[in-house]
């Protein structure tokens, strides 16, 4: 049964608001002085994790569509991709302003010298490339190459996790959780497993028959 048009519109608005909620929450914490003595770093680190939440959400759409065949998941793909880019740009902004104090000469030297920053910047370049080609015109113009270009998202996932790993200093627990989610999303794309996903749809729909 197709979802009514207005429900899909509401769904897209709901996703938009949901993606804004973390930013609003962190900003409010800073505004009420609940973000600790280093609010810039608080924003930097939280938004950094937010990038991965957005990226994971984007990458979960294909498996979810396969599982449910619901059109709604496809409709928010571009939006979530652009949210990932937005979070990444905000992350860089926080780093440049709150950590480097807008000392642009240092921004240049740090980008070249620190491996984790090089990796992060490469991931950002990938996100920008996908962001600027996310409109219909680019899709038409690039044709088949568009799909190839947007496979960069897998590289971005790897680079993002590597960037995160290289920031970790003493405990890998949190990073391991993120890496596990990233790995799961990639495993769901392996052809033998991806082929199984529609079958699960049958199971979900007709649990009675499945148990026979």
């Amino acid at each position: 049964m197709p979802t009514p048009r207005y429900t899909l519109t509401l769904w897209r608005i709901a996703v938009f608001i949901a993606a804004l909620v973390p930013l609003a929450w962190w900003s409010s914490q800073v505004a009420i002085n609940a973000a600790g003595p280093e609010p810039g770093r608080y924003l930097l680190l939280n938004i950094g994790q937010g990038i991965l939440w957005m990226l994971f959400s984007t990458l979960s759409l294909t498996p979810l569509t396969k599982l449910t065949r619901w059109k709604g998941f496809t409709l928010i793909r571009r939006q979530l991709g652009l949210w990932t880019l937005t979070y990444a740009l905000l992350h860089l902004f926080c780093y440049a302003v709150f950590i480097l104090g807008l000392d642009l000469s240092r921004l240049g030297s740090e980008i070249v010298r620190r491996p984790y920053i090089i990796v992060g910047m490469l991931a950002l370049v990938g996100l920008i490339a996908m962001g600027v080609t996310s409109n219909k015109g680019s899709m038409r113009k690039l044709g088949k190459r568009w799909k190839t270009l947007h496979k960069v998202v897998y590289l971005v996932l790897g680079l993002g996790l590597l960037h995160f790993l290289w920031v970790v200093r003493a405990d890998l627990e949190q990073w391991s959780l993120y890496a596990a989610v990233g790995a799961l999303l990639m495993i769901l794309r392996l052809p033998p497993i991806a082929r199984q996903l529609p079958k699960f749809r049958q199971l979900i729909k007709r649990p009675g028959r499945a148990s026979v």
Partner: protein
């Protein structure tokens, strides 16, 4: 024994309150709270001592053991203070106690304050062993008893490029080492933090890279330097658990991780010990870990630091100073050493 600081330029001892009119912090507080007689006495005091007391008006009272309270009455306030107290303003107590690293209680900066309640600090004993004639297990009280509590207002520079200014209360580390009577073989001092996973949840994490116990070390002459203290308190009270209660090391010219917390063992040894961070990442953290703006951490620059608290509109980035601004006092310890190699 009171060890005089060699170079007073950075650490003024001006307008010291005469011995005869030293008053306990309690009486300052009483005076400032408006208790009639106390008020007139405190107003008559030398300005700096009064300033110390008023700085701590908002600091919540702790629950110190009796012996700490009596030492506090006899404390030497403002024993070492920064030359420029405008530049090096005290970090608020709330920030110094709610934003720090103490991986035994978690990896987040807020985790120590959240989780350290479970630490049991009374009673507390310390083993002193190795190359000493007078070793053994000592109650903290007995270890601290012969030394007078001194207030040391030090800059604290974290290796992560943020810094604070903290008023410690402690006793010279050199006093304690001397009383242990080191043998001629004692070349280094090795320190160990408590291992107690049931009190320290971070030690339970199977993802932790640190091989507990957390271990630190100093060369003998570093340990004997008058700036190196064993901290028992801060902000006019005993140490809160999350800051390394009941006693910790404070070495102000080195990155913060050298100042090991909640110490249970001090060993005098012949060989240079391997400290915990060096064991995890020897290319990033050395044994010496002297604050040095010219030698970067591989992952970030050490040329500047963010003095906390800061704000979004003012990241408060200042130049990091050689030996954290204590070069005149400690540079001679490292004469002839290549500090790029011995970072």
């Amino acid at each position: 024994m009171l060890i005089k600081i060699a170079k007073p330029s950075d650490l003024r001892e001006s307008d010291v309150t005469p011995e005869s009119i030293y008053l306990s912090r309690r009486r300052f507080m009483g005076g400032l709270a408006g208790v009639g007689a106390g008020l007139s006495i405190s107003l008559a005091l030398a300005g700096r001592a009064q300033a110390a007391a008023s700085d701590y008006q908002d600091v919540p009272a702790g629950n110190p053991p009796g012996w700490f309270d009596s030492k506090l009455k006899d404390a030497e306030w403002n024993s070492v203070v920064p030359a420029d107290r405008q530049m090096d303003k005290l970090t608020p107590f709330d920030d110094a106690t709610h934003y720090n690293n103490f991986y035994e209680f978690g990896t987040g900066k807020g985790d120590p304050a959240r989780n350290a309640d479970s630490l049991e600090t009374q009673p507390w004993s310390v083993v002193i062993d190795g190359e000493v004639n007078n070793g053994g297990r000592f109650d903290l009280e007995d270890l601290a008893k012969p030394s007078r509590l001194q207030e040391r207002i030090y800059r604290l520079r974290c290796v992560e490029a943020w810094s604070m200014v903290i008023p410690w209360l402690g006793i010279p580390l050199g006093d304690v080492i001397k009383r242990a009577e080191p043998t001629s073989k004692a070349k280094y001092v090795r320190f160990e933090t408590l291992v107690a996973p049931e009190q320290m949840p971070g030690q339970d994490s199977s993802f932790a890279l640190i091989d507990w116990p957390y271990t630190e070390g100093l060369r003998m002459d570093e340990a004997m330097h008058p700036l190196a203290i064993l901290g028992l308190g801060m902000y006019g009270r005993e140490l809160p658990n999350q800051n390394g209660a009941p006693f910790r090391l404070v070495v102000p010219w080195k990155y913060g991780f050298k100042s090991i917390k909640s110490i249970v063992r001090i060993s005098l040894v012949e060989e240079q010990p391997v400290n915990s961070w060096q064991a995890i990442a020897p290319d990033e953290y050395g044994f010496y870990a002297n604050v040095n703006p010219e030698v970067d951490h591989p992952r970030w620059s050490q040329a500047t630091e963010r003095r906390l608290p800061n704000s979004l509109f003012n990241p408060n980035i200042i130049d990091t100073r050689m030996f954290n601004g204590y070069a005149e006092e400690v540079a001679s310890l490292y004469q002839g050493m290549d500090l790029r190699k011995h970072f």
